[in-house]
């Protein structure tokens, strides 16, 4: 992996696994498996989220995701997209674990189709059950600092607050609460949902997040492969800016050039 000479490899760890890339990408909404694979390559992501769905019994020979995105090369993170109850999410992840043997999973329990906002009551319940069954859930949630602590206590191995509704591209709507969650967490925090363009990803990283998860921002860009590259750079830039320690903000101007010696 190429890294600038002046920057140490800045890795992060979730549930005992270490990763270099702080960008996680989804595999939905692409025009083709080929485009998906190319964008994934350009993004530098090491982890991909995948959904668990019924096999099409009438046409079981359709090409499969696993043929284009190698589960041995990338870490598959099964999600529970489409689940509106804790029971559905738990069933889905038990199946996912059987299909691939993975304990590291993404939990999302949605409250309604229109906003795809998390149902936090069901999400918390599912987190407790999954943790008891030996899963390592990375949990999609609201940007509520107390809910984040409750999830962590319940066994979440990562907290994943939304920046804005799934697929909205509205960017980080509440920097205050995201920062509060980062400060209060003892597990990694990743913004998941709402990222629309590169600057949104950089903002998330500048708030101190450990990573960013996105799908639509890349898949629905006019040029997904190019956007994937932009996101890779944005996550890196935001992270380095965070580590560098930004300047303070001032209410008024402060000149950059000396006042003395004016002609």
């Amino acid at each position: 992996m190429n890294a600038p000479h002046s920057v140490q490899a800045d890795s992060w760890t979730v549930s005992g696994r270490t990763f270099t890339s702080r960008l996680i990408v989804g595999t939905g909404k692409y025009k083709s498996f080929e485009e998906n694979a190319a964008a994934l390559e350009a993004s530098g992501a090491e982890i991909v989220t995948v959904a668990v769905r019924r096999v099409n019994i009438s046409d079981p020979t359709q090409p499969m995701l696993t043929d284009h995105i190698d589960p041995k090369r990338y870490t598959y993170l099964p999600n529970t997209a489409g689940c509106f109850t804790a029971d559905e999410a738990i069933r889905t992840l038990r199946l996912a674990r059987e299909a691939g043997g993975w304990n590291l999973v993404k939990l999302e329990v949605l409250g309604e189709a229109k906003t795809l906002y998390p149902d936090m009551r069901e999400t918390l319940r599912a987190t407790e059950v999954l943790a008891r069954e030996g899963f390592e859930p990375m949990v999609y949630c609201v940007d509520d600092p107390i809910a984040a602590k409750q999830l962590e206590e319940a066994g979440a191995v990562a907290i994943m607050p939304l920046g804005a509704p799934i697929g909205s591209g509205l960017g980080i709507q509440n920097r205050v609460t995201i920062r509060l969650i980062v400060e209060g967490a003892h597990v990694p925090v990743l913004v998941d949902a709402g990222v629309g363009t590169a600057s949104d990803a950089a903002v998330a990283m500048e708030l101190g997040c450990d990573g960013v998860l996105m799908n639509t921002a890349i898949a629905e860009a006019r040029d997904p492969v190019m956007m994937a590259r932009a996101m890779k750079l944005a996550v890196e830039a935001g992270r380095i800016a965070y580590l560098a320690g930004r300047m303070g903000k001032r209410r008024y101007a402060d000149p950059s050039s000396p006042l003395a010696g004016l002609i």
Binding site: G28, Y30, T49, A51, R53, V55, M64, N79, T92, E98
Partner: protein
């Protein structure tokens, strides 16, 4: 092998007729599905990979057969 009876099971929400005496793995192959690429839920319980060749399909059984697809 002569089919003595046939069973009715539900697979992914659809009713299906199958010959009796099949294991789950055999049923999958009968449906054109490669067992190694899917996960199976049998009457709301996960079937471990290792048991696909031994558990027999019974009349009235309900199956969910899933695999990984693209998603966010």
């Amino acid at each position: 092998m002569t089919v003595e009876t046939s069973l009715e099971v539900t697979v992914n929400g659809e009713q299906r007729q199958l010959p009796a005496g099949l294991t789950i793995a055999a049923m999958l192959r009968e449906l054109g599905i490669e067992p190694a690429k899917v996960a199976v839920e049998h009457n709301r319980e996960i079937v471990p990979r290792s048991s696909l060749d031994t558990v027999e399909v019974a009349d009235g059984d309900q199956f969910e057969i899933v695999h990984f697809v693209g998603g966010g």
